[in-house]
Amino acid sequence: MNKVIEIRECSAAYGENAVLHKVSLTIEQGELVVIIGPSGCGKTTLLKMINGIVTPTEGKVTVNGEALASCDLVALRRQIGYAVQGAKLFPHMTVRDNICYVPGLEKKMTTEEKQCMAERMLEMVQLPAQLAGRFPRQLSGGQQQRVGIARAMAADAGILLMDEPFGAVDEITRKGLQEELLSLQEKTGVTIVFITHDIDEAFKLGSRILIMKEGCIWQEGTARELTEAPRDVFVRKLLNR
């Protein structure tokens, strides 16, 4: 299998506060890795290290065979989809312009090209094509979230980083989005790193689950491995929530 993301002994800190301690992680093509852990455990920092928003204080991050420390970060980021909690769509752009944001960074697109791409992506996340001309604030939370995912996917990225993308939507919508993400991944074979604080979501989505605690990867494995052999009370508590 092809190693897509490789994090080797990386530490990170915000000022004086160390948040990650020599974390190592290898992710292969087509995996759906879910990271779970209490807030402040460093999961978001770990994710942001993959697209270079956070620079590790030590250690090395390699994505698609390129070392982040020495490659063109802007170009690399365009190959990595990024979706966050609450979607954070650009409020001054229509849904169409939001979806076409990343391809539009590379080349100038005509409105027809954008419309065409937007419709294709909207269909993928199961939204009606009429939404293309709307502004984000005219959409419901769930719709915004889907557009956020469409924006992340439109880059035709091989890697998708998702930071609690379904955190702000209601239970029913979340179930739907989870199903869609799974079928999307099956169709496209994209590598996904997904953060959540919901253990059910982690079990449902993850082909591999990483449990983080205090800036370290505490335990990792499939849902089954974790339930059968939890490392300690902390993991057991997390699983039985």
Partner: protein
């Protein structure tokens, strides 16, 4: 009634003064606008420079306009040029401050997403930061325009043209009607400009989906 009469009787004087006033104000607005927005963009990237620059424009703002004009005379002489410089300098505060505030108060997570999606520095500024800051920048611009037009009235004290000439002439010849007429025209000019700018503001907001 008297005022309407005087508008008609001295229509040539008022027409020249009004045009001159518009010319001076417009020049100052363009200078202050360009300079102010550029300064705002520059200082939005350097916290330290921002403190200094905002301090300086604030201090300038507190200098009484009449004395600023006085200070400028030995440097740039009398006339329209000095007036334009003084008005430009005054106009800087609202536009620099609003540009800076607008650019630095954009939602940090939106910026992070834009960066994470692969925007380079220029794209961050022109596609994300600037359009999101635009409503705040425009309101600073409106402030500046009204201020410059109003303050333009004093410019005639150092020999510049504009409606101040009518006001000044009214004062020196005890002709209150003339003074009032000049003042009213300045106020009207400011109001009309503000109205026009508010229409522009609405158009921009529609373009960016804020309403």
């Amino acid at each position: 009634m008297q005022i309407l009469q005087i508008f008609w009787d001295r229509r040539e004087l008022f027409a020249t003064c009004l045009l001159e006033h518009i010319r001076i104000s417009l020049t100052a607005v363009l200078c202050a606008g360009i300079l102010g927005i550029l300064t705002g963009i520059l200082i939005s990237r350097h916290k330290k420079a921002a403190g200094v620059a905002l301090g300086v424009v604030n201090v300038i703002y507190t200098i009484p306009s009449i004395s600023l004009l006085g200070f400028l005379i030995p440097l740039t002489g009398i006339g329209n040029r000095t007036a334009i410089i003084a008005l430009t300098v005054y106009g800087l505060l609202p536009i620099v401050r609003n540009t800076y505030t607008g650019l630095t108060t954009v939602d940090a997570t939106i910026l992070e997403v834009a960066e994470g999606l692969g925007s380079d520095g220029r794209q961050m500024l022109f596609r994300i930061r600037f359009p999101l800051a635009l409503p705040v920048i425009i309101s600073g611009f409106r402030n500046m325009v009204v201020m410059i037009i109003a303050m333009g009235g004093i410019a005639s004290f150092i020999g510049a043209g504009g409606l101040g000439v009518a006001i000044y002439r009214g004062i020196t010849t005890y002709n209150m009607t003339l003074t009032a007429a000049g003042s009213i025209l300045i106020a009207l000019l400011a109001l009309v400009s503000d109205r026009l700018l508010s229409l522009a503001e609405k158009a921009v907001n529609r373009r960016y989906g804020i309403e």
